[in-house]
Protein backbone atom coordinates (compact mmCIF):
# COMPACT_ATOMS: atom_id res chain seq x y z
CA UNK A 1 0.00 0.00 0.00
CA UNK A 2 1.15 3.50 -0.84
CA UNK A 3 1.10 6.52 1.44
CA UNK A 4 -1.11 8.28 -1.10
CA UNK A 5 -3.89 5.77 -0.43
CA UNK A 6 -4.33 7.17 3.09
CA UNK A 7 -3.07 10.72 2.61
CA UNK A 8 -3.49 13.33 -0.09
CA UNK A 9 -3.20 17.06 -0.66
CA UNK A 10 -6.86 17.65 0.25
CA UNK A 11 -6.23 16.23 3.72
CA UNK A 12 -3.87 18.99 4.78
CA UNK A 13 -3.99 22.26 6.65
CA UNK A 14 -0.79 24.25 6.17
CA UNK A 15 -1.62 26.88 8.76
CA UNK A 16 -4.26 26.07 11.35
CA UNK A 17 -6.73 28.73 12.43
CA UNK A 18 -7.23 27.11 15.83
CA UNK A 19 -4.85 27.74 18.68
CA UNK A 20 -5.87 24.81 20.90
CA UNK A 21 -6.33 21.04 20.86
CA UNK A 22 -10.11 20.82 20.52
CA UNK A 23 -10.30 23.40 17.76
CA UNK A 24 -7.49 21.71 15.87
CA UNK A 25 -9.03 18.25 16.06
CA UNK A 26 -12.32 19.73 14.85
CA UNK A 27 -10.72 21.51 11.90
CA UNK A 28 -8.99 18.29 10.91
CA UNK A 29 -12.04 16.06 11.28
CA UNK A 30 -13.99 18.46 9.07
CA UNK A 31 -11.60 17.63 6.24
CA UNK A 32 -12.26 13.91 6.69
CA UNK A 33 -15.97 14.58 6.52
CA UNK A 34 -15.62 16.76 3.44
CA UNK A 35 -13.70 13.98 1.68
CA UNK A 36 -16.44 11.49 2.62
CA UNK A 37 -14.14 9.29 4.72
CA UNK A 38 -16.40 9.08 7.79
CA UNK A 39 -19.60 7.24 8.65
CA UNK A 40 -20.19 9.44 11.65
CA UNK A 41 -18.24 12.55 12.53
CA UNK A 42 -19.67 12.58 16.07
CA UNK A 43 -18.67 8.98 16.76
CA UNK A 44 -15.13 9.37 15.44
CA UNK A 45 -14.66 12.63 17.37
CA UNK A 46 -15.87 10.95 20.54
CA UNK A 47 -13.37 8.09 20.09
CA UNK A 48 -10.48 10.46 19.34
CA UNK A 49 -11.20 12.53 22.44
CA UNK A 50 -11.57 9.39 24.56
CA UNK A 51 -8.16 8.17 23.38
CA UNK A 52 -6.64 11.59 24.01
CA UNK A 53 -8.10 11.67 27.51
CA UNK A 54 -6.62 8.26 28.35
CA UNK A 55 -3.15 9.62 27.62
CA UNK A 56 -1.93 12.57 25.61
CA UNK A 57 -0.66 11.91 22.10
CA UNK A 58 1.78 14.81 22.38
CA UNK A 59 4.77 12.69 23.35
CA UNK A 60 7.35 14.06 20.99
CA UNK A 61 8.35 17.71 21.24
CA UNK A 62 6.24 19.84 18.91
CA UNK A 63 4.20 16.98 17.55
CA UNK A 64 0.84 15.42 18.39
CA UNK A 65 -0.83 12.43 16.88
CA UNK A 66 -4.47 12.04 17.87
CA UNK A 67 -5.89 8.76 16.59
CA UNK A 68 -8.69 6.26 16.98
CA UNK A 69 -9.97 3.03 15.61
CA UNK A 70 -13.64 3.83 15.31
CA UNK A 71 -16.94 2.71 13.83
CA UNK A 72 -17.31 6.33 12.73
CA UNK A 73 -14.52 5.84 10.16
CA UNK A 74 -15.40 4.60 6.68
CA UNK A 75 -11.93 4.48 5.10
CA UNK A 76 -8.46 4.72 6.66
CA UNK A 77 -6.96 8.19 6.36
CA UNK A 78 -4.36 10.56 7.75
CA UNK A 79 -4.84 14.31 8.03
CA UNK A 80 -1.81 16.57 8.33
CA UNK A 81 -2.01 19.97 9.99
CA UNK A 82 0.57 22.57 10.83
CA UNK A 83 0.53 25.73 12.87
CA UNK A 84 3.10 28.43 12.27
CA UNK A 85 2.66 30.01 15.71
CA UNK A 86 1.95 26.81 17.58
CA UNK A 87 -1.15 25.52 19.36
CA UNK A 88 -1.71 24.60 22.98
CA UNK A 89 -2.25 20.86 23.51
CA UNK A 90 -2.19 19.81 27.16
CA UNK A 91 -0.83 23.04 28.58
CA UNK A 92 -1.38 26.71 27.88
CA UNK A 93 1.98 26.89 26.22
CA UNK A 94 1.57 26.90 22.43
CA UNK A 95 4.23 24.30 21.74
CA UNK A 96 2.65 21.94 19.20
CA UNK A 97 3.31 22.78 15.56
CA UNK A 98 2.65 19.58 13.66
CA UNK A 99 -0.39 17.33 14.08
CA UNK A 100 -1.25 14.05 12.37
CA UNK A 101 -4.82 12.83 12.84
CA UNK A 102 -5.16 9.13 12.14
CA UNK A 103 -8.50 7.54 11.30
CA UNK A 104 -8.76 3.76 11.36
CA UNK A 105 -11.99 1.87 10.61
CA UNK A 106 -13.17 -0.71 13.13
CA UNK A 107 -13.34 -3.53 10.59
CA UNK A 108 -11.32 -3.78 7.43
CA UNK A 109 -10.61 -6.78 5.25
CA UNK A 110 -6.87 -6.13 5.00
CA UNK A 111 -4.13 -4.90 7.31
CA UNK A 112 -2.41 -2.90 4.58
CA UNK A 113 -3.45 0.46 5.98
CA UNK A 114 -2.20 -0.49 9.46
CA UNK A 115 1.23 -1.23 8.05
CA UNK A 116 1.53 2.19 6.45
CA UNK A 117 0.24 3.86 9.65
CA UNK A 118 2.69 1.97 11.85
CA UNK A 119 5.56 2.97 9.59
CA UNK A 120 4.40 6.57 9.67
CA UNK A 121 4.45 6.42 13.48
CA UNK A 122 8.10 5.33 13.34
CA UNK A 123 8.95 8.42 11.28
CA UNK A 124 8.06 10.65 14.23
CA UNK A 125 11.04 9.36 16.17
CA UNK A 126 13.54 10.81 13.71
CA UNK A 127 14.58 14.36 14.60
CA UNK A 128 14.89 15.87 11.14
CA UNK A 129 11.40 14.66 10.17
CA UNK A 130 9.71 17.33 12.28
CA UNK A 131 12.02 20.11 11.07
CA UNK A 132 11.46 19.14 7.44
CA UNK A 133 7.68 19.20 7.91
CA UNK A 134 7.81 22.63 9.51
CA UNK A 135 9.95 23.97 6.68
CA UNK A 136 8.07 22.42 3.75
CA UNK A 137 6.60 25.16 1.57
CA UNK A 138 3.87 23.31 -0.29
CA UNK A 139 1.48 20.38 0.06
CA UNK A 140 3.54 18.40 -2.41
CA UNK A 141 6.59 19.26 -0.33
CA UNK A 142 4.99 17.73 2.73
CA UNK A 143 4.08 14.52 0.89
CA UNK A 144 7.70 14.36 -0.33
CA UNK A 145 9.11 14.77 3.19
CA UNK A 146 6.93 11.94 4.46
CA UNK A 147 7.68 9.64 1.55
CA UNK A 148 11.42 10.24 1.87
CA UNK A 149 11.30 9.40 5.58
CA UNK A 150 9.18 6.28 4.97
CA UNK A 151 11.64 5.11 2.33
CA UNK A 152 14.61 5.64 4.62
CA UNK A 153 13.01 3.31 7.18
CA UNK A 154 12.15 0.42 4.93
Amino acid sequence: MQLTEVMNENLMILDLESENKDGTINEMINLLEKENLLNSKAEYLKDVLKREKASSTNLVEGLAMPHAKSKGVKNPAVVFARSINGISWDHEEKNVKVVFLIAVPEEKASDDHLIILSTLAKCFMHDNFFDNLVEAKTRTGIINVIEDQLNSLS
Binding site: R51, M65, V104, D111, L114, S118, A121, M125
Partner: protein
Amino acid sequence: MKLLAVTACPSGVAHTYMAAEALKEAAKKENVEIKVETQGSIGIENEIKSDEIIGASAVILTNDIGIKKESRFKSLPIVRVSVSNVVKKSDQIIKQIVQKLDN
Protein backbone atom coordinates in the same frame (compact mmCIF):
# COMPACT_ATOMS: atom_id res chain seq x y z
CA MET B 1 25.53 -6.78 25.30
CA LYS B 2 22.24 -7.56 23.67
CA LEU B 3 18.88 -6.22 24.78
CA LEU B 4 15.37 -7.33 23.95
CA ALA B 5 12.13 -5.38 24.10
CA VAL B 6 8.44 -5.87 23.47
CA THR B 7 6.18 -2.86 22.92
CA ALA B 8 2.38 -2.75 22.99
CA CYS B 9 -0.28 -0.10 23.61
CA PRO B 10 -4.09 -0.06 23.97
CA SER B 11 -5.02 0.93 20.41
CA GLY B 12 -1.99 -0.66 18.82
CA VAL B 13 -1.94 1.89 16.04
CA ALA B 14 0.81 4.32 16.84
CA HIS B 15 2.63 4.30 20.17
CA THR B 16 3.62 0.63 19.91
CA TYR B 17 5.60 1.47 16.80
CA MET B 18 6.91 4.84 17.98
CA ALA B 19 8.25 3.16 21.11
CA ALA B 20 9.91 0.42 19.06
CA GLU B 21 11.61 2.96 16.83
CA ALA B 22 12.65 5.08 19.83
CA LEU B 23 14.34 2.08 21.47
CA LYS B 24 16.18 1.17 18.28
CA GLU B 25 17.45 4.72 17.84
CA ALA B 26 18.51 4.97 21.50
CA ALA B 27 20.32 1.63 21.34
CA LYS B 28 22.15 2.74 18.22
CA LYS B 29 23.43 5.81 20.10
CA GLU B 30 24.70 3.63 22.96
CA ASN B 31 26.19 1.08 20.58
CA VAL B 32 24.04 -1.70 21.99
CA GLU B 33 22.34 -4.40 20.00
CA ILE B 34 18.57 -4.56 20.47
CA LYS B 35 15.73 -6.60 19.04
CA VAL B 36 12.28 -5.11 19.44
CA GLU B 37 9.09 -7.11 19.00
CA THR B 38 5.89 -5.16 18.40
CA GLN B 39 2.49 -6.42 19.52
CA GLY B 40 0.15 -3.99 17.78
CA SER B 41 -2.92 -3.97 15.62
CA ILE B 42 -1.07 -5.82 12.85
CA GLY B 43 -0.31 -8.64 15.29
CA ILE B 44 3.10 -9.77 16.50
CA GLU B 45 5.97 -8.58 14.34
CA ASN B 46 9.69 -9.24 14.62
CA GLU B 47 8.93 -11.98 17.15
CA ILE B 48 11.66 -12.82 19.66
CA LYS B 49 12.60 -16.50 19.49
CA SER B 50 13.78 -18.67 22.37
CA ASP B 51 17.40 -18.87 21.16
CA GLU B 52 17.54 -15.06 21.14
CA ILE B 53 16.41 -14.94 24.75
CA ILE B 54 19.31 -17.17 25.84
CA GLY B 55 21.93 -14.71 24.59
CA ALA B 56 20.27 -11.54 25.91
CA SER B 57 21.16 -9.44 28.98
CA ALA B 58 17.73 -7.98 29.79
CA VAL B 59 14.30 -7.34 28.34
CA ILE B 60 12.26 -4.14 28.33
CA LEU B 61 8.49 -4.66 28.42
CA THR B 62 5.92 -1.90 28.14
CA ASN B 63 3.34 -2.16 30.90
CA ASP B 64 0.23 -0.43 29.55
CA ILE B 65 -1.47 -3.64 28.48
CA GLY B 66 -0.52 -7.29 28.93
CA ILE B 67 2.37 -8.64 26.87
CA LYS B 68 1.59 -11.85 25.01
CA LYS B 69 3.80 -14.83 25.85
CA GLU B 70 5.54 -12.89 28.60
CA SER B 71 6.56 -16.10 30.40
CA ARG B 72 9.23 -16.79 27.77
CA PHE B 73 11.33 -14.01 29.39
CA LYS B 74 11.32 -15.44 32.92
CA SER B 75 15.06 -16.18 32.82
CA LEU B 76 15.92 -12.50 32.16
CA PRO B 77 15.94 -9.31 34.21
CA ILE B 78 12.76 -7.47 33.18
CA VAL B 79 12.50 -3.68 32.98
CA ARG B 80 8.89 -2.46 32.87
CA VAL B 81 8.15 0.98 31.47
CA SER B 82 5.05 2.70 30.15
CA VAL B 83 4.88 3.05 26.40
CA SER B 84 4.73 6.86 26.65
CA ASN B 85 7.86 6.93 28.79
CA VAL B 86 9.61 4.78 26.23
CA VAL B 87 8.68 7.25 23.50
CA LYS B 88 9.73 10.24 25.61
CA LYS B 89 12.78 8.93 27.43
CA SER B 90 14.20 6.02 25.45
CA ASP B 91 17.72 7.45 25.59
CA GLN B 92 17.66 7.62 29.38
CA ILE B 93 16.11 4.17 29.70
CA ILE B 94 18.73 2.48 27.53
CA LYS B 95 21.56 4.39 29.21
CA GLN B 96 20.41 3.33 32.68
CA ILE B 97 20.06 -0.31 31.70
CA VAL B 98 23.50 -0.34 30.11
CA GLN B 99 25.05 1.25 33.23
CA LYS B 100 23.34 -1.20 35.52
CA LEU B 101 24.39 -4.21 33.47
CA ASP B 102 27.97 -2.95 33.21
CA ASN B 103 28.37 -2.85 37.00
